[in-house]
């Protein structure tokens, strides 16, 4: 009986090691062998469009409270991320700023989600955010006042141009100051990223 018990324990241990070896990576990630993942902005779209409008708090709404409210403009970015390594890597999150007409920063987006990317594979990651003509106006007035003055644009000129032009891809949308954070077995690497669409 004791022999049988010992045999069973050895068998279970052996099986466990064998099973774990199936999921254990073959090449151990190190700072030296972790190659930079390749990030591309594949596409950009406005997933839902509600036109260009702005309602000030002086206008009484049909329902709800009066406030300064603006047309929403959802912005959806599709990135491809290729893992050139011989082991899986974890995309731990990313941050980037969206600018219209290259110079005007409208929103900085932070994504806290994690994505595993298998060895040698490419995955797609979608990041969606939303701005409104109200948030755009405030951002412009605080950060873009002098730049608008240089271009001889009023904030309203800029907002109308963007709310009408961005959905039709006639205004360049830039993803800038991007940082994509990756890790593999405790080794971390943050990759800078910038791209303009179209």
């Amino acid at each position: 009986m004791k022999k049988k018990l010992a045999f069973m324990m050895v068998l279970i241990f052996g099986l466990s090691v064998a099973l774990m070896s199936c999921v254990t990576i073959k090449v151990k990630p190190t700072a030296a062998n972790l190659k930079n993942p390749v990030i591309k902005l594949e596409s950009f779209e406005v997933p839902q469009y509600d036109g260009y409008w702005y309602i000030s708090n002086k206008v009484k709404p049909t329902k709800g409270k009066a406030d300064n409210r603006g047309a929403p403009l959802p912005l959806s970015f599709l990135f491809s991320v290729k893992n050139p390594n011989a082991y899986p890597i974890l995309l731990e999150g990313f941050t980037f700023t969206v600018a219209f007409d290259k110079d005007f920063d409208l929103v900085t987006l932070n994504n806290n989600d994690s994505y595993w990317i298998p060895a040698g594979k490419t995955t797609h990651v979608r990041a969606t955010t939303m701005i409104t003509t109200r948030s755009g106006l405030l951002s412009l007035l605080v950060t873009g006042g002098f730049k608008l003055k240089e271009r001889k644009w009023s904030p309203w000129d800029a907002l109308e141009r963007w709310w009408k032009g961005v959905p039709e891809a006639s205004v360049p949308v830039t993803v800038k100051e991007g940082s994509f954070a990756f890790s593999a077995n405790g080794v971390t690497k943050v990759i800078a990223f910038e791209a303009t669409y179209p």
Binding site: T95, V107, T108, L109, S135, V142, A192
Partner: protein
């Protein structure tokens, strides 16, 4: 028979033990901290750099083992300085089990104050209003910086000490003081009572205030208003863009007064926007500018390069350093509380972090050019003074580190808390 049952139970048990022992999927305990930032809205000019600096700081903290070996999961959202969204996101962060919140401005801090008090959640934010330093009213609100009123009192005192004696009318008449700020802004108006009180204490003649919008890029009418009073020194309590517009207009119109500015209007962008008009402008700096040679600044700069490589280091601001100030503050509080047995991985540990963490700090030095930090159960003014710097010859230089408690100990102890 008994052995048979024993074996039947033992074998599956061993199998589970072996598999769990080898598995990498065992979830480690984490300390959850939430963040509310403005990277889109009315304060995004300074909020974005603060938000990114905060994320950098928590990555650095985790690289150092987190809180005594337990990693921090920092989750932050942009609320665009919209109060309803701040409240919604706060509730989400609470549901997610966050034990403390790194907040942002006066808007979210004041709106959430009653909820935070009820939830007993430490709320470390970049709203430095002195109204938030009385623990009788806001026991869970904290920050590392000198409060706005301390900034204002320190700035006018530094000008009085260092600049007024060099003026030709020194000793012949009272110095003249006026203030510019957005009257409707809680941030702008917060320290006005205190700076006027300090002006009176120092023997100034006080002129009429000028209402300058946070969004102003043309302030000629306000400058003309100031010219009638002929001030020697003017306080500007707004943020950088409208401060730059006013300083530029005053220079062009020959106002001839010196400027002292609150911390959110005094950063690396001011000389970029105001040009030569920024020469000699003084401001409150609760911590050093990005990259200035102070203790721990090397960590801030190297982390910015490592964790946010997409942003050129030349574009980083003092706002990143301010974020680090608040991150280092909560890190220290959590380390202290953890050592005293407070379980930071569980909800409801807020009172423990306060009692065993924040409120045990006495002259704690975070470096970064900040003043030493103390909190007691009855006084949440983090510092007793502030460093005043000046833009001179193309760089920021120290003017004076004013310690109000040392200069006016009785007033500090009995009169100035909470406003």
């Amino acid at each position: 028979m008994k052995k048979g049952i024993f074996l039947k139970l033992l074998i599956p048990f061993l199998a589970v033990v072996f598999l769990v022992g080898f598995s990498t999927a065992v979830v480690a305990k984490q300390i959850r901290i939430g963040g509310l930032n403005d990277t889109t809205g009315a304060t995004s000019d300074v909020g974005k750099d603060y938000a990114i600096g905060m994320a950098d700081a928590f990555k650095y903290i985790n690289s150092q083992g987190g809180v005594n070996g337990t990693k921090i999961k920092y989750t932050w959202f942009d609320y665009g300085y919209r109060i309803p969204e701040a409240i919604t996101k706060y509730k989400l962060l609470k549901r997610l089990g966050n034990i403390a919140i790194m907040g942002w401005g006066t808007g979210d801090t004041e709106a959430l104050s009653p909820t935070v008090n009820k939830d007993k959640l430490p709320y470390v934010s970049a709203s430095y209003s002195a109204h938030l330093t009385d623990p009788k009213k806001t026991p869970y609100k904290l920050f590392f910086s000198s409060d706005y009123s301390t900034n204002a009192r320190a700035a006018i005192t530094a000008w009085f000490d260092k600049k007024w004696p060099k003026k030709k009318d020194y000793g012949k008449r009272k110095p003249r003081f006026a203030a510019c700020y957005m009257f409707a802004s809680p941030y702008g108006s917060a320290p006005i009572k205190a700076i006027k009180d300090q002006a009176k204490l120092l023997g100034f003649e006080i002129g009429p205030d000028q209402d300058v919008s946070l969004f102003a890029i043309d302030t000629k009418s306000q400058v003309m208003g100031l010219k009638k009073f002929k001030p020697d020194v003017v306080w500007h309590g707004n943020t950088t863009m409208s401060v730059a517009a006013t300083v530029r207009d005053a220079y062009a119109l020959g106002l001839g007064a010196d400027w002292i500015i609150n911390n959110w209007g005094f950063d690396e962008n001011l000389p970029r926007l105001a040009g030569e008009a920024a020469e000699g402008v003084m401001g409150a700096t609760p911590c050093a500018f990005f990259g200035q040679n102070y203790k721990n600044m090397d960590l801030v700069v190297s982390s910015a390069q490592l964790y946010s490589p997409g942003i050129p280091v030349g574009k980083r601001l003092i706002r990143t350093v301010q974020a680090w100030g608040d991150a280092l503050l909560i890190w220290e509080a959590m380390k202290r509380a953890d050592k005293k047995g407070v379980d930071l991985t569980k909800k409801g540990c807020g009172p423990g972090i306060m009692k065993e963490g924040f409120e045990t700090m006495r002259n704690f030095d975070i470096g970064l050019g900040a003043s030493p930090i103390s909190f007691t159960p009855t006084d949440h003014r983090p510092t007793t003074g502030c460093l005043i710097q000046e833009w001179k010859g193309g760089k920021f230089v120290e003017v004076e580190r004013v310690d109000l408690k040392k200069r006016w100990p009785k007033l500090w102890a009995t009169k100035w808390l909470g406003w």
